[in-house]
């Protein structure tokens, strides 16, 4: 039984177009051209309990809009959405007590007060019993190593400390469903890693269903078995992360280092290999998966090879290529 079900979701915005410059501004005061922007255009997917799913896509792909519809913030233009059996936009308190939304660029903590005061306020809002509150707070604080931080005014905290406190504030009511919108944005590598470990731990410990959006592929690679790629408001891919490689990367990369300087034209005999970068002593080829062995053998036989390295295209590369619409087959 899926926890999140989305079918044929659409969300259009009306925006007006303005020509650049002052003249354009004056014109737009009297005569505005409106246009529908299809932020989400016919998106469907379903997510089971306990899954940790990554939403990826370029800026403006519709990831955040989808999360906002799932949170009940935005009223969908069309389509059905169900989370934990509720229609999010009804914003029923019973539903709201079971999920949480964390946005890397927005904060709910009171700026001039210690985070602990905001936590206590959330306890009142979510009606968390005192004993459960104490227990959960203890656990989250030790998982995130925040003991000394929660009594300091939020405005005096570093971005990383603040993000950790935001996570605590969002999780005190032990949500079954968690939407994380770029939770690691702007953080340094060490802090990103800590947040990642925490998310993984939370997912396993509480069996929470989590959707994560991020621009950092490392977040997605480390955390998510399943990814949904969204582009221009449509689902482009939905499946296991390593299936992206199978589906879209039918080429491998062959990096060859030579003993002496080579000329580019000398590789003309190897038709099946495409040259990606060329220097006289080091050349990188891309080769169809099923031809890799044959070509590697040929290279070793006919050229003074010192070193030869076969690698998969990285997920970053593949996704970049998917988004730039390049033909990479």
């Amino acid at each position: 039984m899926p926890v999140i079900e989305v079918s044929n979701l659409k969300k259009y915005y009306r925006v007006f177009q303005k020509e650049p410059g002052l003249a354009g501004s004056i014109k737009s005061l009297f005569n505005r051209k409106y246009e529908d922007v299809k932020a989400v255009d016919d998106v469907s997917f379903s997510i089971d309990a306990g899954e940790l799913v990554g939403f990826i896509g370029p800026n403006g792909a519709g990831k955040t809009t989808t999360l906002k519809v799932l949170s009940g913030l935005l009223y969908p233009t069309a389509g059905q959405v169900s989370v934990l059996g509720y229609t999010p936009f009804d914003r029923k308190p019973e539903f709201q007590k079971q999920f949480s939304l964390v946005m890397g660029q927005k904060n709910q903590l009171w700026w001039d007060l210690p985070a602990l005061d905001s936590f206590i306020l959330n306890k009142e809002i979510y009606e968390v019993p005192q004993a459960q509150f104490d227990h959960t707070l203890d656990e989250l604080v030790s998982m995130l190593d925040l003991k000394k931080v929660i009594k300091v005014q939020v405005r005096k905290l570093s971005l990383g400390q603040r993000m950790k406190c935001e996570l605590v504030a969002a999780l005190l009511h032990q949500p079954k469903v968690l939407f994380l919108d770029e939770p690691t944005i702007g953080l340094d590598v060490v802090m990103q890693q800590k947040i990642r470990e925490f998310i993984k731990g939370y997912n396993q410990k509480y069996l929470a269903t989590i959707i994560l959006t991020s621009h950092y592929m490392d977040d997605v690679k480390e955390l998510c078995d399943r990814v949904i790629i969204i582009d221009k408001g449509k689902v482009f891919f939905d499946g296991k992360l390593n299936e992206i490689i199978k589906k879209y990367a039918d080429r491998k990369t062959l990096e060859v280092v030579f003993d002496k300087s080579m000329e580019k034209k000398s590789f003309a005999t190897i038709r099946a290999a495409k040259i990606k970068t060329f220097t006289p002593k080091r050349t990188v080829f891309t080769v169809k998966r099923d031809k890799v062995n044959q070509i590697a053998a040929e290279l070793l036989k006919s050229f003074p090879v010192v070193d030869l390295n076969i690698t998969e295209s990285s997920i970053e590369d593949i996704i970049r290529e998917v988004f730039t619409g390049r033909d990479f087959s």
Binding site: Y75, F99, S100, L101, K106, W110, L121, E124, I125
Partner: protein, 261 residues
Amino acid sequence: MKRYFKLYLSFIKNCLIREMEFRSNFIFHNLVSLIWAVVVMLIFFFIYQHVNTVNGWTMEEVLLLTAVYFLIDRIFDSCFEINFNNFVPLVNTGQLDLILIKPASSQFFVSLRQFSFAMIFSNLAMAGVIIYLALTYFSPIYWWQVVSFLVLLICSVVITYSLWFMTLLPVFWWGRIDNIQHLFRPFHQLCRVPIDVVGRFKSILTYIIPLAFVATIPAQSLIGTLSPWLVIYGVLAAGFLLWLSHRLWNFALRHYTSASS
């Protein structure tokens, strides 16, 4: 209901902790708000050196009305105005997102999240002026006058809140209108003078857009010139407008577009 009361106490507590950090701000706000009230009373005092009554209102009555207006205005400011000033940025920057996901009334949140202590002394001073004027010029004051005054005081705050709140809602359609929270202010200022002076528009301002309930009618309850059924009408009007503001809020939220990510 009890839960919201508890929540509101938490809001107030948090605001108090914060406010105590900014002491000079606190003192200055109180001072400015007192000066406002004193200057307006002085103006009426000087006007009444030339006339005895304005449309049946004597100087003492107008001074009482002014004190009532300022008391109610300051209560409104303490509870709501600080929130209304944050309203447009809240909607335009998408900070409303994190309020809308909370399992509590979002209208309650956006209207009452912050409480300003900056008017506390000014409020006490106005209450003192009202008591002084009432006892000096309008005694005897009967208990039912005090009760109806207190009821009308609450009605006045609720009516002002509801009307003002509804004027904020176009921001969901029109986006960036930074000063929409001031749209209602001129109409509110009109309530400083006895509503009777508007002549034949009086019934409209009593029954349809009940601005008469903002200050004139509460003051009349102390002066002793109020027909009792207007107290009942005030309660009904306040209830209806509050309900209407809630319906319109929910309708407006359908057009919320949030902002960026």
